[in-house]
């Protein structure tokens, strides 16, 4: 186990280097520059800009500088947000995105597991059909349609909830973004839980548990859930990657100052240090999170050994 974790930790660094290099390569291969576009710049000023940002050096020097700053964990200054370093922006936006993402995922887990388990226990009942149809609907409505529709109904027509903006935590502003973001995961987790539970409930060890006279509650909660939730646990890894694109959309719809919103703006502004910083940060987060999921998986499923 220890060796497994160590190996995975060691592989993290080269992977981050690869992702960052790829991103940097894409940015540099693209025609144009961050200062070009809006209006023509006199040659002398352009020369100054190129000197200031080291663009006059050969590409490998620039690449080396960039990678060096990434490895030191200091991503430099943003090109567009004057006087703010990338690290400051990361520190400022991360709590927003993390709150949104974690909160949504927790609610999705709660509702999804509950609905999935109930559906599996009452298989082929109306409850089962209704929750699975609802889950399919949840999978099919894009979050950028769901979000505005919720806003239209719950805030612009009924005036129950604020339609946008960040209000800190906890606040009513969080309700709609969390609902929007968690919809798909709820649906997905409910489906995973249902099929996992159905499989487990037919297993021999559940029959044994029933045969030795355990109450139905003990059978479900102590024996079946542990096995039935394995697909949900293994979904948590990829879910994080989806969650990131999900937060991008939700942050844009609700005008939240999160990582995703800044990432899109950075791309539109060609703000290279900020793009590199966010990509590197997210890659590390995903890799570490995946490792955590794998460890948790081995802990829950005793059949797995690393």
């Amino acid at each position: 186990m220890f060796k497994f974790v160590l190996r995975r930790l060691i592989i993290t660094l080269p992977m981050v280097v690869i992702v960052v290099s790829l991103t940097w390569g894409l940015i540099r291969l693209a025609p144009g520059n961050f200062y070009s576009g809006e209006k023509k710049i006199p040659a002398a000023i352009e020369k100054n800009i190129r000197e200031k940002y080291g663009l006059d050096k050969p590409w490998y020097v620039q690449y080396g500088r960039m990678m060096g700053s990434v490895l030191r964990g200091d991503f430099g200054n943003s090109l567009r947000y004057q006087g703010q370093s990338v690290n400051q922006i990361l520190l400022m936006t991360l709590p927003v995105s993390a709150t949104l993402g974690l909160f949504s995922y927790l609610i999705a887990l709660l509702v999804g597991i509950l609905a999935g388990t109930l559906a599996a226990l009452k298989q082929n009942s109306r409850l089962d059909y209704a929750s699975m149809a609802l889950a399919m609907l949840g999978l099919s409505i894009p979050n950028f349609v769901l979000g505005p529709l919720l806003v239209l109904v719950l805030s612009l027509s009924l005036y129950w909830l604020p339609p946008a903006r960040w209000g800190g935590f906890p606040s009513w502003n969080l309700v709609l973004p969390v609902l929007t973001l968690s919809g798909v995961y709820m649906a997905y987790i409910a489906r995973l839980t249902r099929s996992g539970m159905l499989e487990v409930l037919r297993a021999d060890y559940i029959r044994t548990a029933r045969a030795k006279g355990l109450s139905e509650r003990a059978v479900v909660f102590r024996h079946a859930l542990r096995g039935g939730l394995l697909p949900v646990v293994s979904f948590t890894g990829p879910a994080l990657a989806f969650l990131i694109s999900g937060t991008v959309v939700v942050e844009r719809i609700f005008a939240l100052p999160g990582l995703g919103n800044y990432f899109i703006n950075a791309n539109l502004n060609r703000d290279e240090p900020l793009i590199i910083g966010i990509v590197a940060f997210i890659s590390i987060a995903i890799l570490l999170f995946n490792l955590l999921v794998d460890v948790a998986y081995a802990y829950i499923d005793p059949r797995i050994r690393y």
């Binding site: 991103t23 505005p148 806003v151 997210i282």
Partner: protein
């Protein structure tokens, strides 16, 4: 049950000896639909018996006929199939009908400046009822129905073509890895694992932000390639698993013994036998790619004006959600309905093609 019908029965309907997997040289012409696609057939057990029983009067059904019948029994899947078919036909034919009846096209902006604004569905400029714009018009006075139909064409096209791209990459990669096995397989699958845990959507965003916006058509091709290139991973894993379970069977050994080259074994013998799960997964890839395209278009990085996809239409609609909600509702609901149907169809296909995988 149909599922239990033996391989021999199925082979008989083809009208040729059921002996194919072992006996026929790979170059021999065969019915690609039936012989190749059934994994059970490849096992080769009972081949000799079936050759004797060939003239029997029992009429069997092929794997595909079986699957088709099971699919038709699944009401939700039939619903999905019908809705998807209707949407495809309507988005292909509809624009011509609109042009013929009302004269509107997706990019027609009325020359009268009083008409260049958003009207609600079924409403004429003077406020009376009119059938000219069943979905209303957008800010430029363009007919939303015509734009939703164009959006349907583009969204479905992106979904299907990107899925084909991902199929091509995934099948070649997975089949090669699974067939070669050993060290090569280890390395190739590690690469897939590594790619799985990358924030590829971020890289796609960077790619589109920096290389996009050349021309509407160029943007479309970029989308096909980018979305196809990021959605082949699961496909590769599925194909690899299938190939690994097939590669030690007699028909592959026979092919190897007769000196068939490795690429030929992989693509002529193994891949066709692994098609069932691949088709199922491909059906489910289409809606997920369409969602990703919509996501990118929503961010302004996908389909460019004057073309439109459901995602880009929804994105325009969101700006005006408070005043002109129909601009979001029509493309959004059409897209949700399509994805809903495609998902049901995919689920139904999975149950029909692979009864063992059916989730009870």
């Amino acid at each position: 049950m149909n599922e239990e019908r033996s391989a021999t029965d199925r082979a008989q309907t083809t009208g040729q000896p059921a002996l194919t997997p072992l006996g026929t040289p790979p170059e021999a012409p065969r019915d690609p639909d039936i012989i190749h696609t059934s994994p059970e057939l490849a096992v080769g057990e009972g081949d000799v018996r079936s050759a004797e029983m060939r003239d029997d009067t029992i009429v069997g059904t092929s794997l595909w006929k079986d699957a088709w019948r099971r699919l038709l029994k699944n009401k939700l899947a039939v619903f999905g199939l019908v809705v998807v078919a209707i949407i495809i036909v309507v988005s292909l034919v509809g624009p011509y009908i609109i042009k013929a009846t009302t004269g509107y096209t997706y990019d027609f902006i009325p020359p009268d400046s009083k008409l260049v604004k958003s009207f609600p569905p079924f409403q004429a400029p003077d406020g009376s009822f009119s059938g000219a714009h069943p979905m209303g018009t957008d800010n430029a006075g363009r007919d939303i129905l015509a734009r939703v139909l164009l959006g349907g064409r583009i969204s479905l096209m992106v979904g299907i073509i990107s899925t084909i791209v991902s199929l091509l990459i995934g099948i070649s990669y997975g089949a090669t890895s699974g067939y070669l096995g050993g060290k090569v397989d280890d390395v190739m699958m590690r690469i897939v694992d590594v790619l799985y845990s990358l924030p590829y959507m971020m890289i796609v965003i960077v790619l589109l932000a920096f290389f996009g916006n050349r021309s509407p058509l160029g943007q479309l091709f970029l989308l096909f390639a980018a979305l196809g290139a990021v959605s082949w991973l699961t496909m590769a894993r599925i194909v690899r698993g299938q190939v690994m379970s097939l590669k030690n069977q007699e028909f592959v050994q026979a092919a190897r013994a007769t000196g068939v080259t490795t690429p030929k074994i992989i693509f002529r013998h193994l891949v066709p036998n692994a098609l069932g799960p691949v088709i199922v997964y491909a059906t489910l890839t289409v809606p997920s790619v369409m969602l990703q395209e919509a996501f990118l278009s929503f961010l302004g990085l996908g389909v460019q004006a004057p073309l439109a996809s459901w995602g880009s239409l929804a994105s325009e609609g969101i700006q005006n959600i408070a005043i002109f909600p129909w601009q979001l509702i029509f493309p959004g609901v059409t897209m949700a309905l399509t994805l809903f149907s495609l998902n049901f169809l995919g689920d139904g296909l999975r149950d029909a093609l692979d009864p063992q995988m059916r989730k009870f």
